[in-house]
Symmetry: C2
Subunit: 356 residues, 2 copies
Amino acid sequence: MKDWEKNVRTVVPYVPGEQPKEKNIMKLNTNENPYPPAPGVAEVLETFDADRLRLYPDPLAADLTDALADFYHVDRNQVFAGVGSDDVLAMIFLTFFNSRKPVLFPDITYSFYDVWAEMLRIPYEQIPLDHDFFIIPEDYKKENGGIIFPNPNAPTGRLMELSQIEEIIQANPGVMVVVDEAYIDFGGVSALPLVDRYDNVIVVQTFSKSRSMAGSRIGYAISNPCVIKYLNDVKYSFNSYTMDSVTIALGVAAVKDKEYFEKTVQKIIQTREWTKEQLRALGFLFADSQSNFIFARHPKVPGPQLFQALKEEKIFVRRFGKPERIADYLRITIGTDEQMQKLVKFLKTYLMEQET
Amino acid sequence: MKDWEKNVRTVVPYVPGEQPKEKNIMKLNTNENPYPPAPGVAEVLETFDADRLRLYPDPLAADLTDALADFYHVDRNQVFAGVGSDDVLAMIFLTFFNSRKPVLFPDITYSFYDVWAEMLRIPYEQIPLDHDFFIIPEDYKKENGGIIFPNPNAPTGRLMELSQIEEIIQANPGVMVVVDEAYIDFGGVSALPLVDRYDNVIVVQTFSKSRSMAGSRIGYAISNPCVIKYLNDVKYSFNSYTMDSVTIALGVAAVKDKEYFEKTVQKIIQTREWTKEQLRALGFLFADSQSNFIFARHPKVPGPQLFQALKEEKIFVRRFGKPERIADYLRITIGTDEQMQKLVKFLKTYLMEQET
């Protein structure tokens, strides 16, 4: 060990889902949208004046926060934009979880939460989901330094009732409660109205799933202006210009096309419901998902084996392995109808082969 | 104060230079390049397939780090890319300045250093420049938790000899020494060769100045593979996908056009040298700048007054105010020949009016 290594913040980093370079694979492993972004996005790319790039972008990304404010009927000073919801969530951990009491989140959840907490040396406690993968509001009524959970939860897909979220917020007026709604557009009810009723709530959403723009890195938080001001202050102490000019313009084009957004989201919901029926018929077990993925296991085939069989068929899904009780589960992203038909067809054949 | 505000990390944020919305202004306040990015950048924008945006980008931004590795004749695992050099520097503060001893940097320097230190609760000491705005290597030979300085320094424009930088590195084998080379292409000699000779050096550069891409937010660090690995681990604990797909492709196009890069940089150097002569003739005092700006004061006109007069003429420059000994200085970005002629013409007339 070199002397300078004593000053290094060593961490166990988050491991994102594989981004295979191969063509001709069916990529159902990182919950990407199978449809292209709104047509206006392509238009902005074609017509964007490259000369503008010599100038710094608007550090507030006001065009984007304005477009989001319009879409969600809130004030522009209630919106914070960042480089994907991971950037937004990292800023939230840094800004609002500055406490010696543990931050609470589920034991089975987005696997970045404990990474942020570890990296920022924030104490935390992982609260077990119940045996059906439900979050129990009662468990979040103990002393803590903040609360965060996805709704629907990932990777389970389980949706929580708004009344239960409100119960958690009401029980915790002294800390920030963060509702991570990466998948909310696929059938959930957003906690956005609660932002008006409680001053300690932040709702976080992303362009990566329902808006087909994972490649653009756009996430946002909505809360009251005071919370957004605290968040902007920390952002301005970290990196003033996070959103590049092209991405701001692309994001605006996407938000403005509400019709396309609703159409593609509805299509994915339909495909998901069809896929659920098929998987159920094949004997798969899964929590009822309200997201763009299904978290399922088959009682007769271990998770690692099925994962490998799919990979050999060039179908990439995601498997977490930890904790033990999800070791047999695969998280399967909802793709196009054609992709899901192909998946189901392969599973049918594969499971039949296992029986014989 | 609300209860949840007790857990808030309160900070005094960095204040970036103004990005005025008005047209018809001469923007010489944030050291942007007056020339457009390389022509290949516009081509990539026009031809980029929007459908790719539905997929996550390559978290390593390998196309970009490969292009940079080629350009600088280093290995790809020696390059780290981020959302502007501010993102890269924030990650470096987080990763390598994890010590209870003070990080050292000049008292007059990039005004984000103390903001990062304050935000991350890192102790620091600001070492005074000498009366001619030079960094004195001898002053950096005391116990510390890390060292960072820009070369050329900002906002003074003063370049340090490579031998002096080496002297600082040699005296501090137990900590990381970061050379922030945002302006190095405008006449300085990069510390890059020192990365091969010492294991505790990081060189940071940006696309915002010499590559005309402030709007794209691209910065990078070059060091040995071990240092880059530590940096990537922390980055993967903060935000895995920081570089969006479009920006990666635009950055690659810019790096590949070495000829255009060299041509525009040379042009700015010529314009700067012409501007120096003119300002000198008008009685301005300034340190000899090797960057794309000149940090100057006029002995007969207070800084705030001149700043205001220029602003009324729609010429935006930058003034820092603090510390006291730079209160009369203005930092003037080098624009096109036409812009500099207009600036000089106005200053000539204005100074004559003051005399009478």
